[in-house]
């Protein structure tokens, strides 16, 4: 356990070095948020029937998405890709720790530091000036934090699987592109999930991706009531367990067929 903690804290400190990138990213995310909100506002101007979310909720949803953007499972560690291509992955195998949890720890560090750097200023700016509402009560805020923790672990579990898929280099790249696209759409980053057609809602609720963004955001704005928060948490936990089990099995298989390039 100590080893993993050391890995996380070392890489966390490394990621904290990218403060200029985070500042530039903040500008990008604000701009992006404006675009999304203007588009949704235009659609809501002509909406006749009542919608599953109010425009105010959609605005908060967009800003939460922009604030938490860095923790979504849409990328693998670039270092790992290079390592597998170059054969340096052999060094990873030599370390006296479990490979799955080693890569999981890398993913934790990769998501936590940038998220902190970006989320805090985003909450302040969007909260003060651009219509991000505060949670209605302390209870809601606490439930949201719990759901965010679940979202964070789930996101790390998904991205660890993506990293592992790179052990099958070529097909792994395809898997990665598809999974990250799916995660993007099905987590609610393109449009909030409740705005998808009604017939799609059942599938969306079942799939793991809503757990990384949509579900915690809706807890935050009270769109998911407090007495249903346990469903969100149970959904996240079930998928975390599934991804960890599958991921560990894949590591075993991937390593057996891995050929390390010499030289």
């Amino acid at each position: 356990m100590k080893a993993y903690r050391a890995i996380v804290s070392a890489r966390f400190r490394m990621m904290l070095q990218y403060r200029a990138a985070a500042a530039a990213g903040l500008g990008t995310q604000l701009f992006w948020g404006f675009i999304r909100i203007m588009i949704f506002t235009a659609f809501y101007r002509v909406a006749k029937a009542p919608q599953p979310m109010t425009l105010e909720q959609v605005v908060s949803y967009v800003w939460l998405g922009q604030a938490m953007f860095a923790m979504l499972p849409w990328s693998v560690e670039p270092d790992l890709r290079v390592m597998i291509r170059s054969g340096n992955v052999a060094y990873e195998l030599l370390r006296p720790v479990d490979l799955y949890w080693l890569w999981f720890s890398r993913s934790v560090a990769r998501r936590s530091a940038p998220t902190l750097l970006r989320a805090v200023p985003m909450f302040i700016i969007a909260g003060l000036f651009f219509g991000l509402r505060a949670p209605q009560s302390v209870g809601v805020a606490a439930a949201w934090l719990a759901a965010m923790a679940g979202a964070f672990v789930l996101s790390c579990a998904i991205s660890t699987i993506l990293s592992i898929s790179l052990l099958w280099t070529v097909s792994g790249e395809g898997v990665m592109v598809l999974m990250s696209g799916a995660a993007w759409l099905l987590s609610g980053m393109i449009i909030p999930l409740p705005l998808f057609p009604d017939w799609a809602q059942g599938i969306l609720a079942f799939l793991p991706f809503r757990g990384v963004a949509d579900a915690p955001y809706r807890v935050y704005m009270g769109n998911i009531p407090l007495n249903e928060v346990w469903v969100v948490l149970a959904h996240q936990l079930a998928w975390i367990a599934a991804f960890v089990v599958v991921g560990r099995a894949l590591v075993g298989r991937g390593l057996r067929r891995l050929a390390v390039q010499g030289g």
Binding site: A24, G27, W32, M38, V177, A182, L185
Partner: protein, 267 residues
């Protein structure tokens, strides 16, 4: 001039051949891009499905806007990989080598790579464009087809211009700035929707500063015979793609200023 064109094709044929060495990876990435960009359009479709319309615009009309900008962006993106990765060229001193060659620097940078895997994205954009062209109510004519082609060429010019400006900034910062992505990717994203839905400051930005509206929204109005809520005259709608080529010329001038400013990193 003709010589330069021949050289460019020579450059990119090398680039294409080297990319085709990893055929399986190429196929996988192209298919991936096809599906990923399809996801983009799925979002637009879902919004129309939920809300029925967008201030007098139908899904097919927005699909035309989307298809035009998507195809133009993809052409530019595939050609401009050299400018996108220009910070590395500056940092490791490769630009010094380009300067001593008796050819224009722009030609050498743009000749570095033609990104073939963008073919997936191109297919998706083209598919949406063809569907929209077939489904819109306004009748097609030869001048309109010409206008569409000019708008796409103008759009490609603006995006190439933006990539050149992004590369030019490396002469001062040696780093490529993420902020430029807001203009390229953000521009593509927002301009796929009718300009009239945006706030005035935002509209002005995409008309006067980065004139993407001139190669997308205005010509599309003429093609769709859609009345402009902003009230632009028809003449403007037909001639606006020219602005795209002007933008590229300005970007090339800025690049020249940048090159004069260049100091090698010494590495």
């Amino acid at each position: 001039m003709l010589d330069d064109v021949r050289l460019y094709f020579k450059y990119i044929s090398v680039s294409v051949r080297s990319q085709m060495q990893y055929r399986a990876s190429f196929v996988m990435q192209s298919v991936g891009q096809l599906l990923i960009t399809g996801i983009d359009f799925l979002g637009i479709w879902a919004l129309f499905d939920r809300f029925g319309g967008l201030e007098g615009w139908t899904l097919t009309e927005v699909a035309l806007l989307y298809g035009m900008v998507s195809v133009a962006f993809t052409f530019a993106d595939a050609m401009s990989a050299g400018f996108d990765l220009f910070s590395a060229t500056v940092r490791n001193g490769d630009f010094d080598r380009m300067l001593v060659r008796p050819r224009s620097t722009v030609l050498q940078v743009i000749g570095q790579e033609l990104t073939m895997r963008r073919v997936g994205r191109l297919a998706q954009g083209t598919a949406v464009l063809v569907w929209a062209a077939w489904a819109i109510e306004a009748p097609w004519s030869a001048p309109k087809a010409l206008l569409l082609a000019a708008a796409i060429a103008g759009g490609t010019s603006i995006f190439v211009g933006l990539f050149i400006l992004q590369g030019t900034m490396c002469f001062w910062t040696t780093e490529s700035l993420e902020i430029m992505n807001t203009l390229t990717y953000g521009g593509r994203e927002s301009i796929s929707y009718p300009l009239s839905i945006f706030r005035p400051w935002f509209r002005r930005f995409f008309i006067f500063v980065v004139p993407l509206a001139a190669v997308n929204y205005f010509p599309a109005l003429a093609i769709l015979e859609h009345e402009d809520p902003l009230g632009t005259p028809v003449v403007v709608q037909w001639s606006s793609p020219l602005v795209g080529f002007a933008f590229l010329l300005v970007a090339l001038q800025v690049w020249k200023i940048g090159v004069r400013h260049y100091r090698s990193t010494g590495s």
